[in-house]
């Protein structure tokens, strides 16, 4: 099938195209040089902005944790539901939508690729089954490895190469995409209700430290040539004064970087950029972190922006979630996974008039505006932790318009407003920079070669937004932009037109990308290994890997490792 997106203002940062008027040609799901204009289906994008399909580097949309969130919050579903239509399935949910609805809502905003960031390897099959039922999107998952017993043991013994081989095995057996580290060492300690407090704390029973875990996995990541860096949720997340831990985390892998390439992705940075001694004296640590980021090139980040709304927090960081339960008294779910990780869920409401929440809101935007290079800070809400992904258009408005920020600043807690750095900041992102922080930059950081750009050979994932950069002053007319990004004029997924004016035209299934890591000497599953496996897990070794029979649309990406 052929498709031609005509006369749009194209924003394709990876190919350096900045608002030029041009046509995008599509054949068989790929972007091509040209198509037969008579035969091709034409999409009139004149007066509109054309961008690659959105890429979300960090969003919790599937897996046991998300599903338990759905279980916990019927009240979240009662007020937001979507009926079945002739093309779409029914669904519910605001902050934790059911799988079909998740796919439709992303597609309506012009997003076509998402990364599901926390997958306990033991429950990988569950994550993939849900992703299977998440339409309209290409997706991938990061297995949680920062507290995996095998990793801890290898790193305690300094066996980086063996560790790397095992990670290669886990990537293919869980169908994972990147190494996710959550509160390294802390989750293992949480098994007995404890936590680690800093990078050099001992992990109980394992003779290693968070610093060794991060460095070790960073080295293993490099040995394996994985497309993405290690994806780190830092220690001490959500605690006042934690920006120092964050800086230390970034510093601890500084020496492992070569050729200006990033070696670490620090995720939902806002939650890790708190200054102050306690909640009363909380301040923004965004400036310190941004200064560090502006002086170094080995790290990327995403915002984890807070939205003033009712949402559901869920992370693998069990101790943090327990602390949040202590703060709010809301209902609390804890779910520890043997030998691997933990998890927690607490419903949460961010209030405008709360000092702490308003400071958090400010931190996210400060980070995005103070870090000069848009290729290294990406737009996320850490869905649903900071707010549901459907709030992305709001963040876009804040980023492109000082006026939008001022309008929101007026309404927040007065003390937080007086301390916020936002009033002093004049920076306004252009549409080109928005395309960078919402798709191109994320695709580059993820090492996705066919996503996030519109060059020949790329996957034909295209979003067209009804905003005319020639006639609209986006900074003044931020509402128009917000509206445009809420409902894409057109979304093309894999060469098919799936959304028009925010309505789903067609239900399509996406692919699940995973890494098939080729190592010279694959991890040998010896009798000893199997015995240890039996000792550590309560499932048989044979039942641990995700078998492909019952999953559709698996899309392996072959990676050649150096080990």
């Amino acid at each position: 099938m052929e498709l031609l997106v005509k006369n749009g203002f194209v924003y394709d940062p990876l190919n350096g195209v900045n608002g030029e008027k041009m046509d995008i040609a599509v054949r068989d799901g790929k972007i091509v040089e040209s198509v037969n204009e008579r035969r091709a289906r034409k999409i009139n994008a004149s007066g509109m902005a054309v961008m690659p399909g959105g890429v979300d580097i960090h969003t919790h949309i599937a897996g046991s944790e998300v599903n338990t969130g759905r279980l916990l919050r019927p009240e979240d579903h009662f007020r937001d539901f979507e009926s079945k239509t002739s093309v779409t399935r029914a669904g519910v949910g605001r902050s934790i939508p059911s799988t079909f609805t998740t796919g439709y809502r992303y597609a309506r905003m012009g997003y076509t690729t998402i990364m599901n960031p926390s997958m306990p390897p033991l429950e990988a099959k569950h994550t993939h089954e849900e992703l299977n039922d998440t339409p309209m999107l290409d997706k991938a998952s990061y297995p949680l490895l920062g507290n995996w017993w095998f990793v801890l043991e290898y790193l305690a013994q300094g066996k980086i190469k063996e560790c790397a081989r095992h990670i290669a095995w886990i990537m293919s057996s869980t169908k994972g995409y990147a190494i996710k580290i959550v509160n390294p060492g802390g989750l293992e300690a949480w098994g007995f209700g404890h936590n680690v407090k800093g990078l050099d704390d001992q992990v109980p029973y394992f003779c290693t430290t968070p610093r060794e875990i991060i460095r070790g996995l960073c080295k293993a990541n490099k040995l394996l040539n994985l497309p993405h860096t290690i994806h780190v949720h830092a220690n001490n997340l959500g605690k006042p004064g934690n920006y120092t831990t964050t800086l230390e985390t970034l510093k601890c892998v500084e020496d492992l970087a070569t050729e200006d390439k990033p070696v670490i992705h620090l995720t939902h940075c806002q939650f890790s950029a708190f200054k102050g001694d306690d909640w009363r004296t909380l301040e923004s640590g965004a400036e310190e972190i941004a200064n560090y980021m502006n002086g170094h090139s080995h790290a990327t980040m995403d915002m984890g922006q807070v939205i003033f709304t009712d949402t559901t927090t869920m992370t693998a960081d069990g101790p943090f979630q327990y602390a949040l339960y202590g703060l709010t008294g809301n209902k609390w779910v804890n779910h520890d996974v043997e030998t691997e990780t933990s998890g927690g869920i607490v419903p949460f409401r961010y209030h405008r008039k709360s000092y702490v929440h308003a400071v958090q809101w400010s931190i996210g935007l400060e980070l995005a505006l103070l870090i000069k290079d848009p290729w290294r800070i990406f737009m996320t809400t850490d869905h649903p932790n900071g707010g549901p992904f459907t709030s992305y258009p709001k963040i876009i408005a804040w980023l492109i318009s000082k006026k939008a920020r001022e309008a929101s600043l007026k309404r927040i807690n007065a003390r937080a407003r007086s301390r916020s750095l936002l009033p002093s900041m004049d920076r306004e992102l252009s549409l080109y920079e928005i395309a960078t922080v919402t798709r191109a930059g994320q695709a580059r950081a993820l090492g996705l070669k066919n996503k996030g750009h519109l060059g020949v050979g790329a996957d034909a994932d295209i979003a067209v937004y009804n905003v005319n950069p020639e006639t609209t002053d986006i900074s003044r007319k931020y509402r128009t932009v917000r509206r445009a990004f809420r409902r894409a004029a057109y979304t093309v997924k894999g060469g098919e037109l799936v959304v028009k004016d925010g309505a789903i035209l067609k239900h399509v299934d996406g692919h699940t990308m995973w890494l098939d890591v080729k190592v010279s000497e694959p991890a040998r599953i010896t009798g000893d290994m199997k015995r240890r496996f039996k000792d550590y897990w309560t499932v048989e070794y044979e039942n641990y890997p995700v078998n492909e029979d019952h999953l559709k649309g698996l899309d392996p990406i072959t990676v050649k490792a150096r080990v």
Binding site: R70, V92, G191, W332, N334
Partner: protein, 451 residues
């Protein structure tokens, strides 16, 4: 799975589709049964789709699509077992974990209103006190000692009975005299059982508390008070002396990792979801003092899987009503038994379950008075009363799939043998039924337009 269950799977098998004609079930070709079933579902205004807990997640996925297509209400067996647990969790949340975590770490295991020795035979051996973990050892030695002692005692008793058959020898139960209970102070893993009767599990426990029937709620709240160091100003709670409770609450606070497993003794006795509510709060409160988790003991092999699939596709774990075009959930209104008791459903599809034998009589009556479709490998009460019966293959024996363990760990189910000729897996039957329903609806729409 135990061998007898596994190897005896082929008894009472259904092999051919059946349709009720003139009051008796007769064998018919698959296609005929399929068309008939599709017509029943497509014509019904408010069909009920029930069962799902003994089939694979793949079948449930198709089942939900079918429910959406026919605008019916879909419910799984949680509604009659751990439904109240779900309601409790929706109020309080739950501090839980996977079973391996308990194997490695738990030094205090409490079974409340559940009897795993009889109902979950491998549970204790694989996951709790008789299993070997990284931080905790198996207690099998003490179990062997205890069993030997029990056997010896029984022998002595029977010998005494033989000597003087008329005289009654009272079996000493809970010690009347108060002294330090050695079991509660012992090192290593402790097993406490709380139940209304001395079950098989209680016999091997280190400590057994016999709660008066329907008094679980009081006992749970007493524990909640005790772990906050509050005094209880009565002698007994739920028939148990407070001193004993103080011992147990000390053990709860003093452990490194504690776990409560609760069964239908809690969910289906007086108080239902309120009992579970209190139990969940107890486990949650204990986390302020130590690490504590709680877990429901689920029944059917894939009831967790049914809940899980329901959740990700509809947002709700059971009792989902699609009659408005979107998922609606209100247990007590949209749950199977309530729909039947109000006589609202006008057709039903039952898969892998036997509601005719275990639902309240009035509900079962309404179920069989309307067209009833059954999909089951066996001839059971429901399939005997059904109007259309599809034989299906055993998932995990004759067909592969996915199931979820009670701690939500997904497990692959393997195919071991070929199903009997002509017998299809649940998933395939449902998929064909869905296609057929769509065809029937399309045809009807066309007819309506012509008129």
């Amino acid at each position: 799975m135990c061998e007898s269950k596994f190897l005896g799977y082929s008894g009472h098998r259904l092999l051919k589709p059946l349709i009720r004609k003139n009051g008796t079930l007769v064998e018919v070709p698959f296609k005929e049964a399929l068309v008939k079933a599709a017509e029943v579902l497509a014509e019904a205004d408010y069909p009920l789709l029930y069962g799902w807990s003994s089939t694979s997640c793949e079948a449930t996925r198709v089942g939900i699509e079918l429910a959406e297509e026919v605008g019916g209400v879909i419910d799984n067996t949680s509604t009659v077992c751990h439904g109240p647990s779900v309601l409790g969790i929706q109020d309080v949340g739950i501090s839980s974990c996977t079973l391996g975590q308990i194997r490695h770490r738990a030094d205090l295991v409490i079974y409340w209103g559940s009897n795993p020795w009889s109902a979950h035979p491998r549970h204790i051996e694989r996951y709790t006190t008789l299993s070997e973990g990284k931080f905790e050892r198996s207690e099998w030695r003490s179990y062997v000692t205890k069993t030997k002692a029990a056997t010896a005692r029984k022998k002595v008793e029977s010998a005494l009975r033989q000597v003087s058959p008329k005289k009654k020898f009272p079996i000493p139960s809970t010690p009347v005299e108060r002294g330090p209970c050695p079991a509660i102070l012992k090192a290593g893993r402790k097993l406490i059982v709380i139940d209304v009767r001395k079950t098989r599990t209680a016999e091997i426990a280190d400590y057994f508390i016999q709660v008066e029937p329907n008094k679980d709620y009081e006992l749970l709240q007493a524990f909640r008070a005790l772990i906050r160091d509050q005094e209880i100003e009565t002698d007994k709670v739920a028939g148990v002396p407070v001193e004993y409770l103080e011992d147990v609450s000390d053990a709860m606070i003093g452990c490194n990792f504690g776990v409560i497993f609760f069964g239908l003794g809690l969910t289906m006795s007086k108080g239902k979801s309120r009992n579970v509510d209190a139990a969940l709060r107890l486990a949650r409160d204990l986390n302020a003092r130590t690490k504590f988790v709680i877990m429901p003991m689920r029944g059917h092999f894939n009831v967790s899987g049914a809940d899980t699939v329901f959740l990700w596709q509809t947002g709700y774990p059971y009792a989902v009503d699609f009659s408005s075009g979107y998922p609606r959930y209100n247990p007590g209104e949209t749950s199977a038994i309530d729909v039947l008791l109000r006589k609202e459903s006008d057709a039903a599809l039952v898969i892998g379950s036997d509601p005719v034998s275990n639902f309240p009589r009035k509900a079962a009556e309404h179920l069989v008075n309307n067209p009833l479709i059954a999909i089951d490998p066996h001839m059971n009460a429901t399939s005997q009363m059904a109007d259309i019966v599809f034989p299906s293959a055993f998932v995990g024996i004759e067909t592969s799939g996915t199931a979820y363990r009670m701690d939500h760990v997904p497990l692959p189910l393997k195919k071991v043998v070929e199903p009997p000729r002509g017998v299809l897996p649940d998933e395939e039957i449902l998929r064909r039924l869905l296609l057929e329903v769509r065809k029937v609806k399309k045809r009807k729409k066309a007819q309506a337009e012509v008129k």
